[in-house]
Amino acid sequence: MATRKGEFLEPDYGTADTSQYVENWDQPSLEPSQTTASVHLSYLKNFFDLDTSDFLCRCRRAIFPVGKKILDNPDNEEADIYGWVWIPTTIILVLSVNSSLYTFFNALFHQQDASLSRISGVNFRKFWIFGVLVYGYNIVIPALLWAALVCTSNRQPILHLLCIYGYSCTSYIFASLISIVPFEVVYIVSFVIASIVSSITLFRNIFSEEEGSDSSRSLYLFRIIATLLNVAFGVGLLMVFLYGT
């Protein structure tokens, strides 16, 4: 094809029909069978398909683990990963902020002498430790659990596991907010309570009832293990908050 001087030549895409990826990028999500690229953005929309009211309902049921289960909602029973992404992120941010915000307010309102107030500013070391701990727990443990369940012929949907692990961390957000109070006893008690609530939530909701029998002995064993790991996670968060440098 003849071109004028300086005219930019567009790459030749051949005969592939790319119109659905260019022109329809903001259209409602495609069905997985309609696209060959599983990492296409509109495919991921399927995993974030919930309303604000659904999200708040699931969080409320995660904080109050008695009564209906997290995904027991006739309007929307599909597992989502919005909670799995943003609830742990919130915990990391709130814990990192509160570990330095307390000293900020202390200096702001008490006008301490410059030589006495050695505020560390942004504590990135603690931020990274929280990040590794929280994201590591919420990624590695569900993946290992899913793999172990597959090996023992108790297959559970990975999306369901990720969803429940995400929402079970909701109580830690409140414990993290309380951690700004400058009394150790207060936030130790709040972390212990959050850990108990989170573990009960995980124990009740972790497995999908659609897949196999809920009363199988091996499933019960996995429930116990997952719950104990959750308790250890809560203790780990508290230790890092108190003693992480």
């Binding site: 604000t52 919005y82 943003w86 330095s100 505020i119």
Partner: protein, 160 residues
């Protein structure tokens, strides 16, 4: 033919004209962020015609201002913020940059944080979110800007 003619004319124009045009673009977008009172069509047109000059300058300024005050974590702060320039929404950083330099930091930063979020919410008008999902879409933005505001707020205490 029109596109080729337009391209040819901007290639041959003086450098100062190009810079002036880009500076005008940045100024217009900053004005849009400060006072997002435009029609949905105008907002849509601006979002379609995105550029990265403004986010680059704003994020570099923020990173430089914070790094001047920080010591050990200067490189980390700088690199984290420079990465964020790849976003049209980084235009809303302007107010947090401004908050980094004034005395009453806490109240100012909090107010400007909420102003940023309101500006981003105006941008969402173009995305046509389904009913009942606006809060879910705005929340990650709020989280992100809160992190930046926290860095601006707390990062300056080290020299006291």
């Amino acid at each position: 033919m029109d596109a080729a003619a337009f391209q040819e004319s901007t290639l041959d124009e003086p450098v100062w004209n190009t810079i002036k045009r880009d500076l005008g673009l940045i100024g217009r977008r900053l004005k849009l962020v400060i006072l997002p009172k435009v029609t949905a069509m105008e907002m849509q047109a601006e979002l379609r015609d995105w550029d990265l000059w403004g986010p680059l300058f704003i994020c570099m300024t923020l990173a430089t201002v914070l790094s001047v005050e920080a010591s050990e974590d200067a490189s980390l702060i700088f690199s984290c913020l420079v990465v964020q320039f790849r976003s049209l929404w980084a235009y809303v950083f302007w107010d947090i940059v401004f908050g980094a330099a004034v005395v009453v930091r806490f109240v100012t930063v909090v107010l400007l944080l909420f102003w940023s979020i309101m500006a981003v919410t105006a941008f969402f008008a173009d995305v046509k979110l389904p009913e009942g999902r606006k809060l879910l879409a705005v929340y990650p933005v709020f989280l992100f800007y809160s992190g930046i505001a926290w860095m601006v707020l707390v990062g300056f205490q080290e020299h006291k």
